[in-house]
Symmetry: C2
Subunit: 247 residues, 2 copies
């Protein structure tokens, strides 16, 4: 019997999880998917995920694949599996893909959103889905600073220390900063990201927005190739993986 | 010593509460406010609230008042009290008001929002803050139906049965239905509401939107003065008290 490869687009509220990837202590998205799919399909299923989001980070469409002997049509999996998943994980799309499709190896771009609630007081309904920052942010300066990050650069300054990756050159295609009511959303689109990269970019742009750094400093931070030069890592709860698109 | 009356605008995520009002079984917003204020001010505080929202219903600005001997400036209470409140309750404004100001007796209008996520699948981050309804809704028909509800009417058909209130005439000032991405927001503004009124209006407009009722039926439902004629009570999680404005 030949196995088919099924792709899922998985949305999740990361609040209750230790992240996407299986960890010895704590429940991960990957573990819930493996267990739910294995129970449902009566086969041992091991999903392969595109993005290993951190604890507390959310997703509107992380991409995972798995191989199965099941004959269920690809697009029916979402309906079938959602009935058995906890309510903070939802399959928003499913389809059959070619057996050599690999969520991390196939060329793609990812779109992340970092959401800041910029107001005197927090809003309870958004407390797990945005970072409450009460000092007023100047988004024009943030946009100017973001401009220096576009393109292909060595992002060592924007990568968590002790990351085993050697090549820290990454290509940022777009950074878009939008304000709606009291929310400031930083959208970052790229082909690949280093560990904590979007959260360090957000933390650094917040330093610019509140006047701690001038916009030009971001250019210097980038050139320094030193994590200590950049701003803090903004909290996980503000980050959502919005979309992964394959070429 | 004379007491001063302080007004608070209280935002809360109603998910974990049995509602605004103190209940024998379960934790209420009112109880948390009384306990937190009493502990902080070292006086016995009993708040008076404007709206007794149900279990699971949210608020962006319910209005409460309390009397205190404290000399803290009115506008400082929000900062002081927020440090002691759980993260799902936030005071977004505080000020001193005249001692005869009463949140329920003073003339006001209230604005509610009923949020529907109208998409095939739910979005985990919105699961507690919207009602997921997967069948496609025709918002033009919903708007037409809503038109019949504007103005002063006997809303018996849109009131939970066994409500002890005798006079069921209420005045709806405005119903606005907005679609943004996959969300349909029903905004209802009125001077006062009956028990479950906004949720029954939402449940009825959803019946219109998905084609179970035609728009004109809402006029007949209103005239029937019979709760059995209207649609179901839409789930609490979709409802948020957005604002209370005093004349």
């Amino acid at each position: 019997m030949t196995k088919r490869r099924i792709m899922l687009k998985v949305a999740y509220d990361g609040t209750a999880y230790c992240g996407y990837q299986i960890q010895p202590n704590g429940l991960s998205i990957e573990e819930v998917l493996n267990n739910t799919l294995s129970d449902f399909l009566k086969e041992e299923i091991k999903v392969i995920g595109a993005s290993r989001t951190d604890a507390g980070v959310h997703s509107m469409g992380n991409v995972v694949v798995f191989d199965t002997l099941s004959k269920i049509p690809g697009e029916k999996f979402s309906f079938a599996i959602n009935r058995f998943l906890p309510e903070d994980i939802v399959i928003r799309e499913s389809k059959e893909v070619s057996e050599d499709f690999h969520p991390r190896k196939n060329k793609s771009f990812k779109l992340y959103r970092y959401r800041i609630l910029n107001d005197t007081f927090n809003i309870p309904m958004y407390r797990n889905y945005s970072y409450h920052f009460y000092r007023k942010l100047d988004i024009e300066n943030m946009k100017k600073a973001a401009g220096y990050l576009i393109g292909s650069h060595d992002f060592t300054s924007f990568c968590a220390v002790n990351t085993p990756v050697v090549d820290k050159v990454r290509n940022i295609l777009e950074i878009d900063i939008k304000k709606e009511n009291n929310f400031i959303d930083i959208y970052v689109k790229g082909e690949g990201f280093l560990y904590n990269m979007v959260r360090i970019i957000a933390g650094t742009l917040i330093e610019v927005g509140c006047g701690h750094y001038d916009a030009l400093k971001v250019k210097n931070i980038l050139e320094a190739c030193d994590r200590n030069e950049a701003g803090p890592t903004a909290p996980a709860r503000g980050l959502t993986l919005m979309e992964i698109k394959y070429r």
